[in-house]
Structure formats: structure tokens, C-alpha cells
């Protein structure tokens, strides 16, 4: 309950900040959307950093490091340090200049003028909003997961189905409403202030979290040493030979259990009571809940060592593996079924089976001898499913990850933040400090993620703290809950929520701005609406999109990192458009259309191929899908631009001054 009080107090504080910012609100839509171009270097740095560091950076990075190891830092953090600042420097300053000179509030206004095309907005608007939705989804989903994990057991009778804590749907809803309120009251000024405050909160609390978790694990050296002993592959980007060997042994043992269970279930083998008793003599000790699983393992080992298993065909063995891993056995069986990996088949609806298996052992976490629903599901997975195969990082995928941070060049919410700058010089601090800030946040998260693979329960060093097959999205919150006391857990959760909300707010504000500027005012006419009506329309559209995102978040859970990579890839595939619009005089309207259509087409096609982000680590031609998207969009843009009529001289004069054209031709 203490955690709840702290989280609630933090949310109230944030609403208070929005309230103070609203007192400074000048009542104009320009102040609401761009804070009247008044944001200085420090606020700009904090709001840009807070906006780009989302749930993806905290929840996603620690979860991905838990799954893939330290290579995740190189994949996205160090590359972002180079590329993000490059985008601020090369694109941000130019767009700030155009925005200031010609009064732009959104990207689409700029593209309409630069490309001499009114209709480009009709094409770009749904694509940009469509790509912002998965970005929002990351935040909304993570907020629910974090609050739910940390408040587990906070209630005595309510919310039994979410282990007596705030259910994820309610956590997501609360965070969405709080962010909506302070964005509505504070506008861009409130958002910039809240971002600065929250960025400071999550950076400070992040360091505190890191210190506490490392101390609880016996210090930095002990925590990392445990990883070197148990999961050395997490410290590199290849698979360590000893881990490969350990996996093969564990997999062979698992196969024995799968074959034994199949033989028993299909009536081809029944051990006598004497045989079962003999088998159980070699059963390792374990907690009472693990007994049924350990018993099966002992019986399987006995059956194999006494040559009791019946002869099985390759197809029967495959069926046994699929069933043991709770996957769907296909009917009819495809050609080459026996040779297919069992992981190629989708999972069954296994959660109800897991809950039914543990039945009345599930209850309130404070009740003696009871386990939570999350624990039941986790224990079932850990004891029944195949061990996770260690895999190396693909060097081509690593190389092509470099394209993903280019997404910041096309993020609509960053465009809006750039325009809030008081002057071009305000960008300097953001350009320089951004890579360092990324390191401050990501290095501890990655270390916590890899430590989670090898940490053990404080009271039992034989039991893993984080069981196998754990949901990566929950690793950080779980570590915080397990390793700290209630008060600290409350503060640390507030820090995680701060990171999540500092991105959601900018995105909420941006989609409202885009709707009013690019749709309502553009097609309805500027004289038709008062400033109050404009702000009201912006707010209504924001509520509609947030409601849509919220309902999507209730459907199916995806890995935060995977979802983020797809979202960023979509924005990156449009990067050639903004770069060419700023630096290439020969970019034409038709070339821009070709670029957007090629980017959207390849994104949709590859997203479908990846089972709608259902395949983590999906690659195409051995590379990240973003490489194909950018190649297609750039090729389409260049080829079509070169064969179509160039923009008019008046447009070129507006966007390419003599000085910049000299710069461009010189480079």
C-alpha cells in the first residue's frame, strides 16, 4: 500500500506542475502548441532527452539486455548518441529556422510548402499518426505492467485476478488520464516543464535503483561474476562454448521428459507403482509446488535409463516436443513436419491450463504457502517448457541497427519541440549532452538486465530470482520489487513512470497539434475558429487517439523493444524525405510521394512478414528490416525526382538561401 501512496502523491505533484504552467498560459494556440518559441538550452535539452528516452529506454533496454545481453547497448544506445545529435545538428536547426521564418507548427505544413503540394498532407497525416500509435502503445502498456508488478499484494480482497494489485488495464488508464490532464492544462510549456522535472527524477532515481540493486546482489563485482559463471554469453555478442554445452544437456533432458509424457498420455507406457517409487528415489529436492514436475522428470530419467520408452518415429517425437512446449500440433501436418523446429508452431492458450494446474495453491502473496497468479504462470513455464537456446547477435543486423535512430529526424513530436527553441544556439547543449545522458540511463539498465539472468533468491542461492521464460517487459519492475523495500520501490516506480510519461505528454500534444493545424485549420479555414475552439479540437482528437491506443494495449502483449524497433523503423524509412527536403534542391513533389509510398509499402509488407511484431529479432536478408525500407524509399525518391519537373524557383529561393546552396554544392 505504501508504494501506492507514493505513486499517487507523485502523480498529484505532476498535476500541480501542469496547473502552475497553465497560470502562465497566454491563451493563444501558439503558446499552447509551441510555448511561444521561448524554451532555452536547459529546458530544450531536458525535454528533447525526456521525450526520446521512453519506456523503451528503461523497461525495453533492461528487458532486452536480459534476453540478448550487453550487445543491446551498441545496437541502440551508442548509435543513438551519434545519430540523434547528428539529426539535431543537421535537420533540427534548419527546421527550427524554417518554422520560425514561415510560422510552421507541424512537419506537414513545412512539406506542403517545400513540395508545393497540398495533398502531401493527406498522405502523410495518417502515416505519421499511425506510427505514433505504436510509440504511445509502448508507454501505455509499460505503465500498466510496471504499476501492476509493483503493487502486487497491496489490496487484501480487491483485484484478485491481478494478484491483489492494480490491474495493468487500470494502471495504463490512470497514467493516460494524468498525462492528458497536465497536457491539457499546461500545453507545450507545461509539457516542457514536466519533461524537465521528470527527466531529472528518472535519472536520479535510476542511479539510486542501480546502486541498491547492485548492493543487494553483493556488489557490482559479485553481480557480474555470477553472470560470467552462469550466462557468459550475456557479456558478449556470441555464444560461449560452455553455455552452448549446458543448453544441449538441458535440452536433451527436456526431450526425455517430452517423450515420456507423450508415451504416457498416448497409453504406450505406464510405470508400475514400484517403478515410480524407484524413480522418485533419485528425485532432487525442491519446494512442494515443484514436486509434480520433478516427479515427471525423475520418471522420465528412470524410463530412459531402463530402456522403457517405446520406439518413436521422428513425427511422434516432434509431436511430443510441440505438446511439451504447449504449442499447437498442426492438422493436417505440413510437408517436412518432422524436420521443422518445434518453435515454428504457435503457442496454445496455455495460461488457463497453468492456473488450473496450480488450482487452490494460488492466493494472496502474504498468505502462507500461497503463490500469485503471475508466479503460477511463471513456474509452469519454467518447469515445463524447453530451455531457451542461447543465440549470437547477427553482425549485419547490428550494423543495420544504425539506421533506426534516424527516426528522430521524422518524429513529429520532436519537430514540435525543435520549434519551441528560443534560438538556434539553444540546440548546442542538447547536441553535446545527449550522448552522455543516454549513457547515464542505458548503462545501468543494461547491467541490471544481464544481472537478472543470473541473480538468485536472497534466501536460497539455488533458486533463480528471475525464472526462465520471464516476460522481458517486467524484468526491471520485478527486480525493483524483489530487491528493495516498499518505500524505495514506490519512489523507484515513480522514476520509471516519469520516464514513460515524459514521452507520452509530447506525443499527446503533438497529435492534437497535427490534427488542428493540418486537418481542421487547413481545410476549414483559419478565420472560422477562435483560439479556444482550436485548443478544444486539439484536445478532443488527443482523447480519441489515446482511447484507441488504450484499447489496443488491452489486446495482445508484444515485447516493448520489438514494438519500439518497428515504430522507429517506420519513421526512419521517411528520413530520406526530410533530409532531401532540407538539402536537395532537386527533390520534387512526385519524388516525395514515391518516397512515402515506398516507405509505407515496405513497412507494411515486412511488418506482416514478422507476424505483426510477433517474431522478436526478425531480420530480412539477414539485416534489420529498416535497411530494406530506407533503400526502397531513397531509391524511389531519387529516381522519381530526377525524371519529374523540379520545384519552382520561388520555392527554391524560399528554402535554399545563397549561402546554404553554396554549402550544399560545396559539400
Amino acid at each position: 500500500m505504501i508504494q501506492l501512496v507514493i505513486i499517487f502523491s507523485y502523480l498529484m505533484l505532476l498535476l500541480g506542475l501542469g496547473g502552475v504552467a497553465s497560470r502562465l498560459f497566454r491563451g493563444t494556440s501558439k503558446d499552447y502548441m509551441l510555448a511561444s518559441h521561448s524554451i532555452g538550452p536547459f529546458l530544450l535539452l531536458m525535454s528533447l532527452f525526456g521525450t526520446t528516452m521512453t519506456a523503451f529506454a528503461l523497461v525495453g533496454s533492461s528487458g532486452e539486455a536480459y534476453k540478448e545481453g550487453v550487445g543491446v547497448y551498441g545496437q541502440l544506445a551508442s548509435s543513438s548518441g551519434i545519430i540523434h545529435s547528428l539529426c539535431f545538428f543537421v535537420i533540427g536547426i534548419k527546421l527550427w529556422s524554417f518554422g520560425k521564418k514561415y510560422g510552421y507548427t507541424t512537419q506537414i505544413q513545412f512539406f506542403r510548402d517545400r513540395l508545393e503540394s497540398d495533398k502531401i498532407g493527406i498522405l502523410l497525416f495518417p502515416i505519421l499518426v499511425g506510427l505514433v500509435i505504436p510509440y504511445l502503445l509502448i508507454g501505455v502498456m509499460s505503465a500498466g505492467t510496471v504499476i501492476s508488478s509493483i503493487t502486487e499484494g497491496a489490496f487484501t480482497t480487491a483485484f484478485a485476478s491481478s494478484d491483489y494489485g492494480i490491474p495493468p488495464w487500470l494502471g495504463s488508464l490512470i497514467i493516460s488520464i494524468v498525462v492528458l490532464i497536465y497536457v491539457f492544462f499546461g500545453g507545450m510549456r507545461g509539457t516542457a516543464w514536466a519533461n524537465t522535472f521528470q527527466t531529472l527524477v528518472f535519472m536520479v532515481l535510476g542511479i539510486v535503483t542501480f546502486y541498491i540493486i547492485s548492493s543487494k546482489l553483493g556488489g557490482l563485482q559479485a553481480a557480474s561474476q555470477a553472470v560470467a559463471e552462469k550466462h557468459p554469453s550475456k557479456l558478449m555478442r556470441a555464444v560461449a562454448p560452455q553455455e552452448e554445452e549446458a543448453y544441449e544437456q538441458a535440452f536433451a533432458k527436456w526431450q526425455k521428459v517430452a517423450y515420456y509424457n507423450w508415451a504416457v498420455d498416448s497409453g504406450k507406457l505406464t510405470l508400475t507403482e514400484e517403478q515410480k517409487t524407484a524413480a522418485q528415489e533419485s528425485m532432487p529436492p525442491g519446494p512442494p509446488w515443484a514436486k509434480p514436475f520433478l516427479q515427471k522428470q525423475a520418471e522420465a530419467a528412470y524410463a530412459v535409463s531402463n530402456d522403457l520408452l517405446p520406439e518413436m518415429t521422428a513425427e511422434e517425437k516432434k509431436i511430443a516436443e510441440i505438446q511439451q512446449d504447449d504449442r499447437v500440433v498442426p492438422d493436417p501436418k505440413p510437408e517436412g513436419f518432422a524436420e521443422m523446429p518445434f518453435t515454428a508452431f504457435p503457442k496454445t492458450k496455455w495460461e488457463p491450463i497453468a492456473l488450473e494446474f496450480f488450482g487452490n495453491q494460488i492466493g494472496h502473496p502474504d498468505e502462507q504457502g500461497k503463490m500469485t497468479r503471475k508466479q503460477a504462470v511463471g513456474r509452469y513455464r519454467a518447469m515445463r517448457w524447453a530451455p531457451e537456446e542461447p543465440h549470437p547477435m547477427n553482425p549485419w543486423a547490428f550494423l543495420t541497427y544504425l539506421f533506426i535512430p534516424l527516426s528522430v529526424g521524422m518524429f513529429p513530436h520532436l519537430f514540435q519541440h525543435w520549434l519551441t527553441a528560443k534560438s538556434a544556439s539553444s540546440f548546442k547543449l542538447a547536441v553535446v549532452a545527449h550522448p552522455v545522458f543516454i549513457a547515464i540511463v542505458w548503462v545501468p539498465c543494461v547491467l541490471i538486465g544481464i544481472w537478472a539472468t543470473s541473480a538468485t533468491m536472497p534466501d536460497n542461492p539455488r533458486v533463480a530470482l528471475v525464472p526462465p521464460h520471464f516476460n522481458p517487459n517486467g524484468v526491471l519492475a520485478y527486480m525493483v520489487a524483489q530487491m528493495t523495500n516498499d518505500v524505495l520501490a514506490g519512489f523507484l516506480t515513480a522514476g520509471i513512470l516519469a520516464a514513460i510519461m515524459s514521452s507520452l505528454d509530447s506525443q499527446f500534444l503533438c497529435i492534437g497539434t497535427m490534427f488542428t493545424e493540418d486537418v481542421v485549420l487547413h481545410y476549414g479555414g483559419k478565420q472560422r475558429f477562435s483560439d479556444k475552439q482550436i485548443v478544444l479540437m486539439a484536445r478532443s482528437f488527443i482523447i480519441a487517439i489515446v482511447a484507441l491506443t488504450y484499447f489496443i494495449s488491452l489486446l495482445e502483449v508484444r515485447r516493448v523493444f520489438t514494438l519500439g524497433v518497428w515504430c522507429f523503423s517506420g519513421f526512419s524509412s521517411l528520413f530520406p524525405l526530410v533530409f532531401a527536403a532540407v538539402y536537395w534542391r532537386r527533390l520534387t513533389k512526385a519524388g516525395a510521394y514515391a518516397c512515402v509510398i515506398a516507405a509505407a509499402g515496405t513497412w507494411l509488407w515486412l511488418f506482416r512478414e514478422s507476424n505483426y511484431a510477433g517474431i522478436p529479432g526478425f531480420t530480412f536478408l539477414g539485416m534489420m528490416p529498416v535497411a530494406t525500407m530506407i533503400t526502397c524509399s531513397t531509391t524511389a525518391m531519387v529516381v522519381v525526382s530526377l525524371v519529374t519537373r523540379p520545384p519552382s524557383d520561388s520555392t527554391l529561393d524560399r528554402f535554399f538561401s545563397n549561402r546554404s546552396s553554396q554549402d550544399t554544392s560545396a559539400s
Binding site: V70, G71, Y73, G74, A77, S78, S79, G81, I82, S85, L86, F89, I93, K94, W96, S97, K100, K101, G219, L220, Q221, A223, S224, Q225, A228, P232, S233, L235, M236, R237, A238, A240, P392, M393, P395, F398, L399, L402, S423, A424, S425, K428, V431, V432, A433, H434, P435, V436, I438, A439, V443, V446, L447, I450, S657, R659, S660
Partner: protein, 84 residues
């Protein structure tokens, strides 16, 4: 100096592909994986490079042109207002 900064950025992008640490899980100072420390170093080097960029390659003409254009525009609009 502009070319030095461009060269540093290209060098950072090349050094980022550290295939030489791919299979190295050594812990430096007893706790820090070498691959992670190397990439944290890339982040710090990026900050230094960008500092040099802001010192020696800053496009100050963009700000001057922008302020001049905004000044002209506001002057024109204020004249237009008084005429009306």
C-alpha cells in the same frame, strides 16, 4: 576543422562496428563487460565530437538569416497595420 569533425563522425560510425569484441566477455574492474565499456566510450567520444562540431562547425548564418527574416516580416506587418 570542419573536415576533422566530419572525419571524427565517420570514424565513430566505423569504430561502432567492434567485431573485435564480439566474442570477448572479459569483465574490466571485475564488473564491467568490455563490450559495454567500449560502447559507453563511444557515447563519450560522440559527446566530445559534437562539442567540437558546435565550436567549429556551428551554422551561425542560419540563426542570423532567420532573425533577419523574422525582423523584416514583423516590420512589414507592423507597417501594414498602421497603413490600414
Amino acid at each position: 576543422m570542419k573536415y576533422v569533425v566530419v572525419g571524427l563522425i565517420v570514424a565513430l560510425l566505423i569504430l561502432h562496428q567492434d567485431i573485435w569484441f564480439w566474442e570477448n566477455g572479459t569483465l574490466l574492474f571485475g564488473f564491467m563487460p568490455i563490450g559495454l565499456l567500449y560502447h559507453a566510450g563511444i557515447s563519450i567520444s560522440a559527446a566530445i565530437t559534437w562539442y567540437l562540431a558546435t565550436q567549429f562547425c556551428w551554422p551561425s548564418h542560419v540563426e542570423e538569416e532567420t532573425l533577419a527574416a523574422v525582423g523584416e516580416a514583423s516590420e512589414t506587418s507592423s507597417k501594414g497595420g498602421s497603413d490600414a
